[in-house]
Symmetry: C2
Subunit: 585 residues, 2 copies
Amino acid sequence: MIGLSLMNVSSNKPTIGSRLTALFPIFDWMRDYQRTDFSSDLIAGIITAILLVPQGIAYAMLAGLPAEVGLYASILPPAIYALLGTSRTLSVGPVSIAAIMIASALSAPEIIDQGDPVTNAMILAAETGVILSLLSVFRMGTLVNFISHPVLVGFTSGAALLIMYSQLGHLFGIGKLSCGLNVDCFEDMFQRIKPVAMTIGILSVVTLIFFNKPLSRLLKHCNINAVLVTAISKSGPLLVVLVGALIASKLATGNGIVAPTVGSVPAGLPNFSIDLIYADTWQLLLPAAVFIALIAYVESIAIAKVTANIKRQRIEPNQELIALGSANLAAALTGGMPVAGGFSRTMVNFSAGAVTQMAMLIAAGILACAVLFFTDVFENILKTSLAAVILVAIAPLVKPYAIVKYWSYDHSDCVAAALTLVGVLTLGIEQGLGLGIAITLLSYLWRTSRPHIAVVGEVANTEHYRNIKRHDVTTWPHLLLIRVDENLTFANAGYIENYIHYEVIQRPELRHVVLIFASVSYIDTTALEALENLHTSLATNTIILHLAEVKGPVMDKLIQTSFLKKLTPGKVFFRTREAVTELAS
Amino acid sequence: MIGLSLMNVSSNKPTIGSRLTALFPIFDWMRDYQRTDFSSDLIAGIITAILLVPQGIAYAMLAGLPAEVGLYASILPPAIYALLGTSRTLSVGPVSIAAIMIASALSAPEIIDQGDPVTNAMILAAETGVILSLLSVFRMGTLVNFISHPVLVGFTSGAALLIMYSQLGHLFGIGKLSCGLNVDCFEDMFQRIKPVAMTIGILSVVTLIFFNKPLSRLLKHCNINAVLVTAISKSGPLLVVLVGALIASKLATGNGIVAPTVGSVPAGLPNFSIDLIYADTWQLLLPAAVFIALIAYVESIAIAKVTANIKRQRIEPNQELIALGSANLAAALTGGMPVAGGFSRTMVNFSAGAVTQMAMLIAAGILACAVLFFTDVFENILKTSLAAVILVAIAPLVKPYAIVKYWSYDHSDCVAAALTLVGVLTLGIEQGLGLGIAITLLSYLWRTSRPHIAVVGEVANTEHYRNIKRHDVTTWPHLLLIRVDENLTFANAGYIENYIHYEVIQRPELRHVVLIFASVSYIDTTALEALENLHTSLATNTIILHLAEVKGPVMDKLIQTSFLKKLTPGKVFFRTREAVTELAS
C-alpha cells in the first residue's frame, strides 16, 4: 500500500489525488483507516497525553515561561503536524533541548529589555516556522547536514548538562541557581533550601527512576499486557507531579507555601493572536531562531526516521520542513513556544501502539480538554516535581562515553564532539553549536583538500593497475599513470596539481602523463582550469597529458568546453589498458 | 639538478644540507650559481626595479599612504622572500589588490580614530605576517582553497573596478572621488578638473597603452633583442611618471601647482621600528588582515606556480607561507605596507630573463639606492601620472567575459563569481570576498550532500555492473545492488540512507541489499552510524545488508569497530560478482 502510494507520488504524471497526498500526507493513511487502527491510536494517544501534560508544563518552566505556553504548544502544533507530516508516530510539542535554547535566547539582556517573555517566545516560534518553511521552499533541507552526528551528541550532552544544572535549584526549592563557581553564594543557597521541597524532589526522582525501567520489568514479569505496562510506566511523571501537588497543598499552613508552585494557569483555549510586529525583537532573536530551527529539524528527522524505518515507511525531508515549519507557526499564533519532535515522547507513542498521527490528534484533544477544565489542578503543581521530571528525562542525553568512543574510529570527530560540549558549557549554547559546525566544516574541507592519489603500475599480464607503493607492478620511465580517487574541485585542485608536478620533476625521461579518472564524478571550474594549466606547463616540457576512464557525465561536460581540443595531441582513453598499449611501447 | 636537490629534501634521512635548503631555499640555487646566471639576473633585476619604483609609489597612493611606505615595502620584503621563498622569479612587494584592501581597512572611521595611517598600515603588515606564519605552523595552507578560482576572478574584477573608480579623480587632478550616484556632486567635480593634470593624465594613459603591446610588437618587428624589447616596453611607467613630473615643474608658476604631486619623500633607508603595540588597533584591523593574508597568499602562489611550472621547478606551499609571512613582518618592521607577489611584475621579471631570486635582490638594492639618493625627484611626481599607471595596470584584471563564460560549464561557479563581484561593489571589499567564500562552501556542501548513487544490474554474461537506468542489465527481485560514487560523510549520510530506503520500500520481495563501495575512500562517524541504522532497520524487515568492493583503507578502519560483527549474517564481498553468485541464485 505504502509502496503504491509513493510510486504514485513519484510517477511522471501526478494525479490530483497523489498531489494532495504529497501536500497533506494525512490522506495517505486516512483513506484506508480501520477501526482496529483507531483503537490502537486511542490508547497510544491517551498514554502520550499523560506524558505530554507534565512535559509541556516542565519544558515551559525550563524555557523560563508560564506553564500555559508549554500546554498551548501541545495542542495546535501537533495537530498541524498530523495533517502535514510524513511520520506516522512523531510526537511534536515542546522539547527539552529547544527549551533550554529558548531560555538562553530569552534571557539575553537586550531581549529582556524588549518586554514580555511570552511575546518573545511567540516571535521565536514564528521565526523558527518561517526559517523551516524557507528551507523547504529553497529545498535546502540537506543543509542541516552541517551538523554531524558527533557534533549533535556533543551539543545535546552539553545542553543536557546545562539543563540539569538549571534544575538543581528548583529541585531543592531554591529557584534559579546562578552561582557559577562562587563558594559564598553556594553557602547562601544551602541556607535557603526548603526541606519539604527537597524531600518531595528527591522522592520524585527516585520514583521516576523506578517507573522508568524496574517497574516495566517487574510488570512484564507478572505477564501483564505490554500496552498496559507502557501506560503504567509512562504515567510516572503525571503521578509524581499530581501527588507532589496534593502533598504540598495538604502541608501548606497559614505560614505560607512549603514549596514554590507553578502558579495560576488561565483556563480556556489559547486565543489566536497575530500581535507579533516588533521589528527590533525579530531581528535580535533571529540568530537564536536559526539555531533552534536547525536543531528542531535535525532532532525531529532523526527520531522520525527511527520509527519509520522499523515500519518500512518513508520520511520525506522536504515535507518535514513544511510540517515542522507550519507547526511552529501554529505555536506562534496560539501563544506557544517553538516545538519539535520529542525523542522520548515519540518512542512512547510508538511503543504504545500508535499506527498513525490519529494518536497525536487524540493527545492534542486531551490537552485541549486539560486547559479547558483542569487548570485549577495545574496551579498547585510544584516546581520541584517538574525539576525531577526534567532531570530524569534529560540525564540519558549526557553521553560522555559515546564521545570518548569516537576517538577510536575517527580522531577529528571525537575532537569536534568534545569541543562542542566544552563550547556549550563555556561559551554558551548557540556559540557551542556554532563552534561545532565550524569545526566540522573546516576538518571536512581540510580532508577533501588532500584526496587520495596514487601513481599506479600494471600488475604483470593483467588489466589491473595498482598503487606502485603497495604492489609489485610494471612501470615505464616515459609513462606516468596517476589515479585520482576523488572529485576534482577548488578544494583539492591545488593539491593534485602540486602532487603531479612533484612526480613529473622526478622523472627526467617522462613523455606521457595519463590521469585515471575512474573515481571522478565531477570536475568544477577551478579544477578544470588547473587541468588546463597542467596541460600547458607539461606541454612546455614536451610532456603530453592524457586522460583515461572518464565517466559519462564528466565527459558530457568536458565536451562543452575547449579543454579536449586544447589537450591535443593528448587523448582520452576509454580504458587504462588502451593508454598503456599505445603509449608504453 | 632540481630533481636531485628535491629528492634530497624528501629522502627519509635528511642531511643538514637538505634541511638548510628546505628552510632557506636560496641555498638550493646559490650552490650552483654561474656567472651567466648573474648577467641574466642583473638585467632582469634592473628592469623589474624600473617597474617597481613607480608601482611602489602608485600602490602606496592607492592605499592612501605616503609614497615612501610603498618604496620601503619594496626593499627588505623582497630580499627576505629571496632568502626563504621557493619561487625563483616571484616579485614580492606592494600589489594593487592588496593596496585597495588596505585602503578599505584604513579608511574605516574607527581605524581613522586610531591615528596615524602609516602605523596602522605597519600593524596590518605585521598581522598579515603573523597570520601567514601561523597558517604555516599549523600546515593549514590548503585552507586558502576556500577561495575558488571563479570567486577569485569575481573578487579581482570587482576590486579592480573599485580601484579604477578611485583613480579617475586623480587622473583629472580632482583628488578622491566620493560622489556615489549624486549628480550635483559630479557637476561640482567637473568644475574642479585641472586641465593640465587631465591632459597629462590622458596622454600618460595613451603612452602606457602604446608601450604595453604595440611598442613591443614594433620593436620585435625591427629585430631588436628580446630582452631589450622587454626593457624598453616596461620602462613606460617610469618614463611617464618622470616626464610628467618634469613638464609639471616647468609649467608651475607663481600661481601654484598645476597638478597635485606626491609631495616630499624623506631621504634615507627606513628605520627599524617596533613601536607597534596598540592592542585596540590590532584587534580592529584583524578581520581585514585575515582577508589580506588570504588574498596575498592565493595570488602569490598562483603566480609563482605559473613560472615554476614552465621551468619544471617546484613551489612548496608551506614554505611559501613562511616566506610571505616573513616578508610581511619585514615590511612591518621597516615602515612598509603589506606585500605579496605581483602578477605583472613577476611576469616582467621572468620574461626579462630572471633565473633566480638574485634578480629581486638586485632590484631591492636599486630601490634602496633610490630612497637614498633620488627622493628629490619623487617629490615632483604627479598623482595624475600615478593614476594613469594604476589604471593601465589594473584594467586587464576586470574580466566580465570570463565570468559570463563560466555559465556554460558550471552555473553555480558563474553565480558565485558574479555575486562576489556585485558583493565587492555594493557591500565592500572584504564583505564581497566573504560572500564569495560562503557561496562556494554552501554550494560545495549542497553538491556533496547529493552524491551520485545508482542501482546497478549485471551486463549479461560479464562481470560488469551498470546503472539500471542507462543500460540493459539483469536484476533480481530479492537482490538490490547499489553503487555509491562518493565518500560517505555527515554531508551525505542522510541522503544516501533516504535513497536506499526509498528503493527498499518499492521492492516487497527484497531479501538482500549489497552496497558497492568501489568509489568510497572514507567513511566518517556520522556515516558509519547511518550504516548501522540502515542495517538495523533492514534487519527488522528481514533484509540482510552486505558490502562489496570495500577498499583497503576503509576496511582497515571498519575492522576496528563493531560494525562488521553487527553486520552478520551480512558479508563483505571482495568483488560484486561474488556477491551476485552467492545471493542471486
